[in-house]
């Protein structure tokens, strides 16, 4: 369902120098796969995630979704795809602190231009319930524990019923117990809800549990 063809990402450092964060990436991810991306710090894992999730564009190469090349899409088309098709979970949670838990979760639906076939409010309540956050719905994120914040972030990622869930070190800021809970949720979403999940992680136990793991080194795929 996702196909990366000859992806390069270069950053301009100054006038004469560029830094190549991704080199010649070829990658295909099938529907309902659970994939782990591993690699040392600076190897380009986040950069790759952002490109897969249409948050960033490659300097060169093609990202296709369902065989549709995205490189010719303009900002509003890309944003629409990102909105409907991808859910992001970040290491730093990235919740908006002056919105309540409920408002954070429903935020992607606010930006949706398509007529949803379900009521996003009901869906938000469902997700709150599912992740044990019902009594926290009027809280502001900075009053929540890290584990709770990450569950809010997952609920937000799911509000649009995306096909693809991208988690960039989702347990990186959590203790092992809470990290375990989050990983179980991701597993469950993959198994029960049939989501395609890609997780970036340093954690060997996670990558070992994943069916597929991709190792990056210096912007290149080392093993697949």
């Amino acid at each position: 369902m996702i196909k990366l063809k000859n992806i390069w990402k270069e950053y301009k450092i100054d006038k004469d120098n560029t830094f190549t964060a991704l080199k010649k990436i070829e990658l295909t991810i099938q529907k309902r796969e659970f994939t782990a991306i591993i690699g040392s710090s600076g190897s380009g894992k986040s950069t790759l995630m952002h490109i897969i999730g249409l948050l960033d564009r490659p300097s060169q190469g093609e990202v296709s979704i369902h065989d549709k090349n995205t490189s010719s899409l303009d900002d509003s088309e890309i944003s629409k795809l990102r909105n409907e098709y991808v859910g992001f979970v970040f290491q730093q949670f990235h919740l908006i602190n002056n919105l309540t838990v409920f408002e954070n979760i429903i935020l992607p639906a606010r930006y949706s231009r398509k007529k949803l076939e379900y009521d996003p409010k009901e869906k938000a309540f469902e997700l709150l319930h599912r992740f044990g956050l019902t009594d926290k719905k009027m809280y502001y994120p900075n009053k929540l524990s890290g584990g709770e914040q990450q569950r809010v972030a997952i609920a937000r990622a799911l509000i649009m019923n995306p096909e693809l869930l991208l988690a960039d070190e989702p347990t990186g800021n959590l203790d092992s117990k809470n990290g375990e809970i989050i990983l179980d949720i991701l597993k469950e979403l993959n198994k029960k809800d049939n989501l395609t999940v890609i997780v970036v992680t340093h954690d060997k136990t996670v990558s070992n549990r994943a069916r597929r793991s991709i190792q990056l080194k210096d912007g290149q795929i080392l093993s697949n």
């Binding site: 999730g53 948050l55 960033d56 509003s76 629409k80 909105n83 992001f88």
Partner: protein
């Protein structure tokens, strides 16, 4: 919640979260809008004032007033300056002025503010003692009854002609007043006439009571007049006659004790002063609006920087760069409009109090202009920061801490 409500709500929430900042930022627009609306209000009032002056008064009038009203050399008009402290004219002045051949009417006025009683009602009014010629030079139109005649002046008749407003105040309705008796300081006066409404603001005719000046001497025991109005046979001779009047009065008074001015002169000077003041206010208003706009722009830039990460998050969950543009643009328009509304409110309050002394009106055009201008400023000064926010790359924005 539809898209429009969502954008509006987000902007509103952000402004509400930073109440003090919102208020201070909108202050420039507030002052600017208030100033502009007030200028328009005064402009309208001035128009009404001048029109009423020309309608209410006869033409070709020269006023003789105590004190220095116009400063030397045709300079500015100082309203009320010196008019209270100066001399008082008397019947001898009236007689000597009547001897100037180009003059047709010489009409003296005594003025006293008194408590007037009718059956069960008590009001404050100006008693103006004058001659029957007042009705001629001021083109007095009667609503009911008649103006008093020369013989009433000679016989010191205890009669009165009421302005429309005071008649309405003293009697349930002005029609009931005719033939009734009013009491002023233990003197009874019979109402023989009621004037039509004039809207004459300078002489306050609508709320004045006119009686023969001879009868008014019971209220002014020094038998003096406050001012004298003069009508010419031929307006072309006005400069010459003014000089003759001055020479006549200089035999008895010092130069600084009185002023001889034309009606149009007063209007001209009032007009030019108000124009100058308006210009000043327009400049102040415009500067304030621009400064206010720059203030908004500044704060919006700060806000874009502060909320960079939030912008990144919104982009990550699917906001288009257009959505981000709207967020910030709507916020700056709301901010500016908020200032505009408060400024408008302030102008309404000021006009409400000032109307007691000077006519000023806020019409629909001023309201629309105020709101239009403040929205426009919000757009013009908000669009650059909003563009900056919209153009942020999502990834750079979300990485920002």
């Amino acid at each position: 919640m539809n898209y429009f409500n969502f954008i509006l709500q987000s902007a509103y929430d952000d402004l509400r979260r930073n109440k003090i900042r919102t208020f201070l930022t909108s202050l420039g627009i507030l002052i600017g809008v208030a100033a502009v609306v007030l200028i328009l209000a005064f402009g309208l009032g001035l128009k009404v004032f001048i029109t009423s002056q020309f309608q209410g008064l006869g033409t070709n009038l020269i006023f003789v007033l105590p004190g220095r009203v116009l400063s030397q050399g045709g300079g500015g008009f100082r309203p009320g300056a010196g008019t209270l402290g100066g001399i008082r004219f008397d019947e001898k002045d009236v007689l000597s002025l009547k001897r100037i051949e180009e003059i047709e009417y010489v009409v003296p006025y005594s003025v006293k503010t008194v408590q007037v009683q009718s059956k069960g009602k008590s009001e404050i009014a100006d008693i103006r003692g004058t001659t029957e010629d007042d009705s001629v030079i001021n083109n007095a139109e009667m609503d009911q009854g008649v103006f008093f005649a020369r013989k009433d002046v000679e016989k010191k008749s205890k009669i009165a002609v009421l302005g429309q407003t005071i008649a309405e105040k003293l009697f349930e309705s002005s029609e009931l007043g005719l033939g009734k008796t009013i009491r002023v300081e233990n003197h009874r006066l019979k109402v023989i006439g009621i004037l039509k409404k004039k809207g004459d603001l300078s002489h306050n005719a609508d709320s004045s009571i006119f009686i023969p000046y001879t009868s008014a001497f019971v209220f002014n025991q020094d038998k003096k007049f406050f001012d004298i109005h003069i009508q010419l046979r031929d307006y072309k001779e006005i400069e010459k006659v003014k000089e003759k009047i001055k020479q006549t009065l200089l035999k008895r008074y010092k130069e600084d004790d009185f002023s001889v001015i034309e009606q149009t002169e007063i209007l001209d000077t009032i007009g030019s002063i108000l124009n100058a003041v308006s210009l000043l206010l327009v400049a102040l208003g415009a500067i304030s609006l621009i400064v206010g706009g720059v203030g908004i722009m500044n704060i919006m830039y700060v806000s874009v920087t502060e909320r960079r990460k939030e912008i990144g998050i919104r982009r990550a969950v699917g906001a288009t760069s257009q959505d981000i543009l709207w967020h910030f643009l709507v916020e700056s328009v709301l901010l500016s409009l908020f200032g505009g509304l408060i400024g408008l409110g302030l102008a309404f309050i000021i006009v409400f109090f000032i109307q007691k002394f000077f006519p000023a009106y806020i019409d629909l055009n001023s309201i629309m202009l105020a709101l239009g201008v403040s929205s426009l400023i919000g757009i013009v000064f908000g669009v650059f920061p909003a563009k900056k926010a919209a153009d942020l790359s999502p990834i750079d924005a979300i990485r920002y801490e």
